[in-house]
């Protein structure tokens, strides 16, 4: 059946709410069609406002409540319509959810899913634009997923909710119109998911996560016109980080370009490079990330701020020359 990235997320929610009576959703904007795009349409009507709960403006309490409900055996999904708002909820995520299992000797697991939406552009500026996936990749105890395909948008969300661990599920509004056919749902075990090659190539490995994967795929098309054969690796799972597939690819191509829609320093692009470097794979490496600045709002500066296919093509060509 035809889905787009947004409706695929919605399909995942429907599957979850239908299949698991202990699943419920808690977050801001769940009763408004505006906050979360087409990714949660009418869930409140289909499953009731007691299972699809729109909340006060209280990110910390809502996230913590998700953690606590998970400890009580539920499968809660906490939705943050923008990742920026989650800065208020860091204690619940990092001090509580991520550490709980370890702190209590593996006897209880807060299997909460935290859905963080990257929602940037549109002249909204610095506080409505952030992509902080590198932060969560840094914290042991969290699983972090970033779907780049329509199938992953659905299947990794289901896998996140089914997982007994706390999961940060990060989707990107810039992907919502991406279309694809989907097979019937099969539940995946998140613990065995990891980076995946989406396009094979010989000369260069483009490695990315989330929306940056789309840029990489488009860039690979353009590079092939120039006679460069680029392989594209979709990271998918950022934590626990399993770089083997990337390392294999770079071993083959001898060139790595890591592309990230987050900031550079201590970001995921750097992590990809370090993981290759420490394994003794000799390769030429480059990375593309955001400039070292908060997101601007003015449209002219927004254009300069976000990486594009052009940037990738140009950087890749330079790397190979």
């Amino acid at each position: 059946m035809k889905y787009n990235y947004g409706t695929a997320i919605c399909a995942a929610f429907e599957y979850i709410l239908e299949t698991y009576p202990e699943a419920f959703i808690l977050g801001q904007g769940l009763w408004s069609p505006w906050y979360v795009g087409n990714s949660m349409t009418d869930l409140d009507k289909k499953f009731g406002t007691h299972r699809v709960i729109d909340t006060p403006v209280s990110e910390l309490a809502c996230t913590g409540a998700g953690v606590g409900a998970a400890l009580a055996g539920m499968k809660p999904i906490v939705v943050h319509p923008r990742m920026d708002f989650m800065l208020y909820a860091m204690d619940a995520i990092v001090n509580q959810a991520a550490k709980w299992s370890h702190m209590v000797g593996g006897q209880a697991h807060p299997g909460v899913t935290i859905r963080a939406i990257i929602n940037r552009g549109g002249e909204q500026g610095a506080q409505h634009s952030q992509a902080l996936h590198a932060w969560f990749a840094h914290v042991p105890g969290l699983r972090v997923v970033m779907p780049a395909t329509v199938a992953d948008a659905r299947d990794l969300l289901i896998a996140s909710v089914v997982s007994r661990d706390p999961v940060m599920y990060i989707d990107d509004r810039w992907l919502y119109d991406l279309e694809d056919d989907l097979a019937p749902v099969e539940e995946l075990d998140l613990a065995v998911q990891g980076p995946r090659c989406l396009r094979e190539g010989r000369d260069l490995s483009l490695v990315a996560a989330g929306y940056s994967v789309r840029l990489a795929l488009d860039a690979a098309d353009r590079l092939s016109d120039k006679g460069i054969s680029a392989e594209v690796i979709d990271l998918r799972v950022l934590n626990p980080f399993a770089p083997e597939a990337v390392v294999e690819s770079v071993r083959k191509t001898g060139h790595l370009l890591a592309i990230d829609g987050g900031w550079r320093t201590c970001g995921i692009a750097g992590e990809v490079m370090a993981s290759v470097a420490e394994r003794g794979v000799s390769a030429r490496m480059g990375r593309i990330a955001l400039p070292d600045a908060p997101a601007p709002s003015s449209r002219v500066l927004e254009k300069a701020y976000y990486p594009t296919v052009d940037t990738i093509v140009a950087t890749a060509s330079r790397l190979l020359s």
Partner: protein, 340 residues
């Protein structure tokens, strides 16, 4: 609370007895200018000339105008996502606001912020940003700074009824109270946080209960009555300036537009009660003031027409100028991250 939450009440002209006509005229001018500026922004957003979101406070203008009557340029005012009225009421230039909304280098924030990030330091507007409750602790610090520097300046923190649900607000109120920092917390209670009515978010409709919990003086007023707001703010600002610690003003009001942009009937996609809306339109801070002033003989239909025309011209001129202004240079992206 005297039924302030009931939209079918308080439609009559406001009580202006004893008010200086010149002052009233100034307040009327300010309310009207904010109203017309925001209606212009609504139009320009609808017709696509504005690229970013605008959160309009049409219907709420009397709050900022009444509060600002008690402020001076050395005070420190912080706002949030819906702050056009807050900065304009302090005397910011229309052109600066419009240019900012358009992302131009001549804007209040030099084009780096748009509608949701406004700054006018020289007029005491320390800044507004869209993270709900994000500036509330900052206002406490700016107030504390005034106290530590030995001045009697005050800080003002504008926030919404939704912001009250953020823990930051409660920490800030307690901190301000314990440090006796000179801060006026102004809650513009318009009963909505985007699409959610306060009854869906809080157990009670008024937020002033938190003022008593935090042991600070408070007043709850008709936010659509500029005289009432002004008087209450005056009492509270006096209290604060005299070194007796923070205070809390809850102004009951309503926004005519939805949460964001130009639509009136929907709130980020959710239908609003048209009856409530039309009732609230009848509790108009502008017409209730105008009618009162006309009845008192200190305003006339002719004066009003002239004023509307003058402001219309200001608005159009400011907009034209802003439209023709340059965007920031590319270097602005990196040059403004750190001080230089």
């Amino acid at each position: 609370m005297g039924g302030l939450a009931d939209p079918s009440r308080f439609h009559q002209p406001i009580d202006i007895a004893g008010q200086d006509p010149a002052v009233l005229q100034g307040q009327l001018r300010a309310i009207l200018a904010i109203r017309m500026a925001e209606q212009h922004l609504a139009d320009m957003r609808r017709n696509g000339l504005i690229g970013g979101p605008v959160h309009l406070g049409v219907g709420q203008e009397a709050v900022a105008v009444g509060v600002s009557a008690n402020l001076r340029a050395s005070d420190r005012v912080f706002g949030a996502h819906r702050s056009h009225s807050h900065v304009l009421a302090l005397g910011a230039s229309l052109h600066g606001l419009f240019a900012e909304v358009l992302g131009k280098d001549t804007g209040l924030s030099r084009g780096m912020g748009g509608s949701m990030h406004l700054w006018d330091g020289p007029r005491g507007f320390y800044g507004s940003v869209p993270i709900v409750s994000g500036t509330v602790p900052l206002a406490v610090g700016a107030g504390l700074a005034a106290k530590l520097s030995g001045t009697d300046d005050v800080a003002v923190s504008y926030l919404g009824d939704g912001a009250v649900e953020e823990g930051a607000v409660h920490e800030s109120m307690n901190l301000a109270r314990v440090l006796q920092a000179p801060v006026l917390f102004v809650v513009e209670n318009n009963f909505f946080a985007s699409h959610m009515h306060i009854r869906l978010r809080q157990p009670l409709e008024y937020t002033a209960r938190f003022a008593s919990a935090h042991d600070m003086p408070c007043e709850v007023v008709d936010g659509n009555d500029v005289v009432a707001v002004n008087k209450a703010a005056s009492r509270l600002v006096d209290h604060i300036r005299s070194g007796r610690g923070p205070a809390f003003l809850e102004a009951i009001t309503f926004r005519w537009y939805g949460h964001v942009d130009w639509r009136e009937d929907i709130d980020v996609g959710v239908n609003r009660s048209t009856e409530d809306l039309s009732n609230w339109r009848a509790r108009d801070p502008l017409s209730r003031l105008t009618v009162a002033m006309e009845a008192a003989g200190c305003w006339s239909a002719g004066q009003h027409a002239d004023l509307v025309e003058a402001i219309r011209k200001d608005v159009v001129d400011a907009w034209e100028k802003a439209m023709n202004d340059p965007y920031p240079q590319p270097a602005a992206l990196l040059d403004r991250v750190y001080a230089r």
